[in-house]
Subunit: 876 residues, 2 copies
Amino acid sequence: MTKNVYSFSEGNAEMKGLLGGKGANLAEMTRLGLPVPDGFTITTETCMTYLNNERMLTKDVQDEIELHLKQLEERSGKSLNDPENMMLLSVRSGSKFSMPGMMDTVLNLGLNDENVEHLARVTQDEEFAYDCYRRLLQMFGDVVYGIDGSHFENFLEFYKRKNRVKLDSELTADQLKEIVHEYKRIYLEIKKQAFPQNPKEQLFAAIEAVFSSWNNERANIYRKLHDISDDLGTAVNIQLMVFGNSGPNSGTGVAFTRNPSTGENKLFGEYLINAQGEDVVAGIRTPLPISELKTAMPEVYKQFFEMSETLEKHYQDMQDIEFTIENKKLYLLQTRNGKRTAHAAFKVAVDMVEEGLKTKEEAILSLDPHSVNQLLHPVFVEEALKSAELISTVGLPASPGSATGKICFDAAVAKEWSERGEKVILVRQETSPEDIGGMVVSQAIVTSRGGMTSHAAVVARGMGTCCVAGCSELEIDEFIKTVTYPKGVLKEGDIISVDGTNGDLYVGEVSLELSEKNEYFETVMAWSKEFSRLEVRMNAEMTSDIETGMAFEASGIGLVRTEHMFFAPERLIEMRRFILASNQEERNKALQTILGYQIDDFKEIFKTISGKSTVIRLLDPPLHEFVPSKEGDIRKIAEEMGVQYDYLQHRVNELHEINPMLGHRGCRLAVTYPELYIMQVEAIIRSAIELKKSSQMEVFPEIMIPLVGMEGELSSLRTKLENHINHIMDSEDCSVPFTLGTMIELPRACLIADELAKSADFFSFGTNDLTQMTFGFSRDDAAKYINQYLAEGVLPIDPFQTLDVTGVGELIKIAVEKTRKTKPDMKIGVCGELGGDPHSIEFFDQLGLDYVSCSPYRVPVAYLAAAKSGIRMKNK
Amino acid sequence: MTKNVYSFSEGNAEMKGLLGGKGANLAEMTRLGLPVPDGFTITTETCMTYLNNERMLTKDVQDEIELHLKQLEERSGKSLNDPENMMLLSVRSGSKFSMPGMMDTVLNLGLNDENVEHLARVTQDEEFAYDCYRRLLQMFGDVVYGIDGSHFENFLEFYKRKNRVKLDSELTADQLKEIVHEYKRIYLEIKKQAFPQNPKEQLFAAIEAVFSSWNNERANIYRKLHDISDDLGTAVNIQLMVFGNSGPNSGTGVAFTRNPSTGENKLFGEYLINAQGEDVVAGIRTPLPISELKTAMPEVYKQFFEMSETLEKHYQDMQDIEFTIENKKLYLLQTRNGKRTAHAAFKVAVDMVEEGLKTKEEAILSLDPHSVNQLLHPVFVEEALKSAELISTVGLPASPGSATGKICFDAAVAKEWSERGEKVILVRQETSPEDIGGMVVSQAIVTSRGGMTSHAAVVARGMGTCCVAGCSELEIDEFIKTVTYPKGVLKEGDIISVDGTNGDLYVGEVSLELSEKNEYFETVMAWSKEFSRLEVRMNAEMTSDIETGMAFEASGIGLVRTEHMFFAPERLIEMRRFILASNQEERNKALQTILGYQIDDFKEIFKTISGKSTVIRLLDPPLHEFVPSKEGDIRKIAEEMGVQYDYLQHRVNELHEINPMLGHRGCRLAVTYPELYIMQVEAIIRSAIELKKSSQMEVFPEIMIPLVGMEGELSSLRTKLENHINHIMDSEDCSVPFTLGTMIELPRACLIADELAKSADFFSFGTNDLTQMTFGFSRDDAAKYINQYLAEGVLPIDPFQTLDVTGVGELIKIAVEKTRKTKPDMKIGVCGELGGDPHSIEFFDQLGLDYVSCSPYRVPVAYLAAAKSGIRMKNK
């Protein structure tokens, strides 16, 4: 028979799949002898069975829960039905992967109109008892009965204002009773149903609500966003209540074993006195830093400090710990690996290797390659800041990085604006899980309430989005859509600039530049190179980009897009002369001029890359990209070039294509105009020869022919180009090394890779075009439907951002297998966008490719991804 | 050691690969005891060795030729060097596949200034001897020395005119001597080299010239056109001369054992008295019908008639026989399977089965499916002919069919015009192998000279192009580009109409209609269905097209393109309302109206196809195809529809796509607007229900979703559509059969066919889109380079006309294998263009597909191709 329920003493940290992260860690802490309130966990499998069984708990499951409840009563000497020794429970969800704020919690479960009086009597604290009860009513109403939490909150706010009470903890017992009374009325009004007085009824309703919450919309979005399977389910943890709200010697808090923003090895956290559960993360009261606990309750602090060290050592990672103090007694309610900024992640990883807590391999595996992007986040230009108008400096630096964008006050507007290409900044009093869709698309998040562990802060750090939290100087009116700050008012759509690293906000747009690298990053990069089998090259042709890639130690250039060199005005005019020429002689004359420019281009590239291999792709785009398309432009250019308007218009029409992506481009141009590619290889070889002759510099051009789909294209072009190269080398009496290869970017090229290999020295996959052709997607047009596909789960991933392993990946696999049959040692790389995507890199590594090539700033991302892949493959 | 030379008695008809068709048949006729002048054949392998060995004959080959020459001298009692018993030779090429007029011939080889006198003396016929010599000079000069034949011909014409001689045979010995003298001067002037006097030197030079001619341009074009490998090579046949030009009791001719135009079982041919070799086919003198030989030389005729029967029985096919009569003695110089019109081919095939000469299977294998197109060639509309202005009725009906087009006088112009989409008719005095490129692209060929076996006639019949030959009323001036006919003058570009079935020519364009089928065609079709495993369906939605396909006994409809139903004005406006709607309600209203139309559409289709399976493809094209794109049209339509111009322009811009082929179309439309497909399936199911209720008619719709690339697309649409269908059937309380399947037309769909199969009842390959995506070719744009690709051999075939087995075929194979793994019995068909292409059909049959679907007129082509494939597979 399936076991559906585990008491904490039966589980351990390895059982995250079955018990959820929270349940497994509660069990593990129990095993370690740490002070965890007793309880048990209902498994994730039970959840899935429940959801698949038309949301019915089977008799077996009910019986098993009853049994564990009875055992818990026996162990604790308390009972749900004994008012003298009352057992109150917390019910919390917990799935395999951490989903902060996504699932739901009910505290103080077991209270009712009758036993709340007993509780008051036994604890001699009527305020405490009714505070617990009103919290239960509020949470249960929201989580179990789906009564919008604002009904309760709004009344509480109204009641406090009316009675001039500032803090919840200042409410008297009588006031709390009035609130409880009103809360029960809200049940009847909204739900047409009274609050259930039977504790066991409460418990089972809460369990079913937690299970059901697995399929709520916020959870679905979060899972989609984080690539978490819908089939995992959530566990339910049922645990004895401990009370942080039982007076001034009680409290509750959250702490990280190290600083999650900077990585500094120092306890970091916050707590609230006389508060319960969600009060800290909800950000309603501003909590105290954990360091103050040292003064307030030195014994408790010491105990917590030691336990946090124990946990970090045990888990070999920075921990995020929830605790509660009940009358000076410390309880741990949760521990998990702490989310952290990229800066912190790199520092923690390196520190832990130095502290002997992790090996280098483990450190690398603990890092997310995407976080490198965050590490290389832009910062404001020093000069620009001097003249920028400050909005506020009192906000908390909740997630580092800098950004500018337009103010949006709600998630829907943020999504809408960002979909039309605007940069937006979400500005709210506080955020809640409902805002997740808007947070994802924002450049930055600003809140006027909440601390460093508020929802906004935690989620922003997780996403690597910059965030300023708890900026109390701002008066944010989400309804009339204004932000009032000390010196003025901003409205929706106004541009602001946000510095998440120090918490400052500015009016208008402040220029950005890339942040400097730090020592931890350098160390991780050095290790990554040690463990990565794949070479990482860059896609670059501009000197500044090449220099950036060199700084990241790219092993060469994987893609020089020569067409980028044809658009400078003096070249464009020659290219147009070439296109408009009526005979070979005119064409040759235009090309001769371009040849001169191209020789300079390639010399510059070769000098900058100083002797590393350089893949140069010959001209790829269709010729119509070089001519104007609008009537006015055509008239202007015709005049400039001294040709008849009619003639130019005629040529433009001739060049027009219905589907340019599938048109006369790539090597097809060279089949029609071989002189184009001949000019380009001449430029490449002549520049190599000039550098060799003038400064003994040895360069390694790898000449790449794009869009090959037939063996005949490649073999005939190869012959023509090689003949010309040999002719130049003979006449210059100077030989330089070079290779000739092709891009594999058409489905057909994958299918005939064995044949193509005969005429190629290397292959490089062009994942952009290959993805377009394989899916039949035009990247320029797909935005119309691709977002909908992602939202509806028709597509699990955007195949232009992460390799579609099933389709495109299959073609790549076929190509590699066929190639290896003909030429086992052929050099094979990737130079499309996906060359810089971590998931895709792992796939390419497993296929045994030689290199990936990506934009210069993604080179370190790629190195880290390649290292992780290398380590995983070695560990297999 | 390789044997390079075979005497005729050593070979047989099976050795076509090694000895060429001509050599193998000469050997076979020798074996049959027929009167073939003695000789030997140098193999095709020797040719390839020669061509690959820098065009050098090895010592071994030379020795072997010398040996066979010696043996031939011994057998014949003649010698190259014995003026009393002079051996003269013919040297003729002959490759595995018949390449008429492509390769070259030299006759009378062995003559020189000295022995020509002896020949005159021995034969007592000076005219004959010098006629032979001038012919040798002319052919040798042209074939071996590359001296343009016009140099000789022009002089001969000039000389005859000057001396008022009409026919070559009227030239006196002295005149012929003067001509020989001038011919030898032409050698010195053009080639700067004298005619070689040594017979053996002549022989070896001729052999090398024949070998080299394998690679001449005409031969290359012909091979490309007929898909013949470049690696086969040509054999050389060396044979004792017999002389059709030795007086009035001699002659030469060509005859078919049956009529190659009609298939009638009656000897058909022509001959010329006192003529040699190429005189008949060159069409310079108009020959006599073979029936006249019966009167002229009854004995010879009887002998020839018997031999022709022997040959036909032996080869079990209609023969095309060349013969020469030397002083009343008959010699056979060649036999081969005769080229014939489609009409003849079908009649001969059926007759031969009836005569017991062939089995049904052999008869089917003997037919070319492409020839069905010719059989179904259009004919002029009777009514239209009555008012048409006749040009001439004296031309020979050289190749049947009717066509209209613009007059072109040379092949280059014909090619150029046809490439820009014009229909052209090539009009020439006579055609020659140089014209082949122009003949291929012409709708019809008209000549003023030459007979039924002239170059023009033979080539046109082979290609199924209509042809009127020897229309002597026309004065064609190819230089000033005019045709003068009895009643007027036509110039280049004028439109004429040509009836190749009766030889009539008309001024202007005469309307065409399809010819009636005949009994032989019906018989072959009946047999084809017997032997074809593949079903053949039609792509059709118009009633008249469906009726055509039904007449050809298509087994159902493989593709109804529903978008064709949206373009009638009253529907287009509703479709536009749908597209321009600003809310769901307006959209639904528009769809409701279209629903009504669609129900009528489908009822009409179901009634016409009367109970056969019908695959209906749901809407496929992008929405912008339904809105105007030009400003003027947008203004007009905006007014018509009562919407703001700006709004319509805005919507048009929104719908615009950069690459519509890869855009928002096919099932992607239905992911965005599910109501579109829901409306269509509702129309399908409602019309089925209505027919069932009103007339108990059972219909079998197979609903097909286009452009599926992801499992999620298909499964989610399937659920939505099935739900709706069930809802309709429930509410109508009537159940009708239906299936739901998908097109496989994206590379990715092929790669995930196993997954797609889970949600599909059938698959149908869309070869058009699949070819576009696999190659990255836009069919709309590819014309720009695809012709060049074909001309340069980069592409061996046009993949839009014949399946690219290597690339696209590989994807189809992958898809079929994956599908069969999931669903071994899934119905799989093809509905793209290639479903009607014979080569492609064989591939689909081998893969075990269930059906192909093609345009109605290709249904019989497909049946015949499927039958041939079925027979071949059974024979394996």
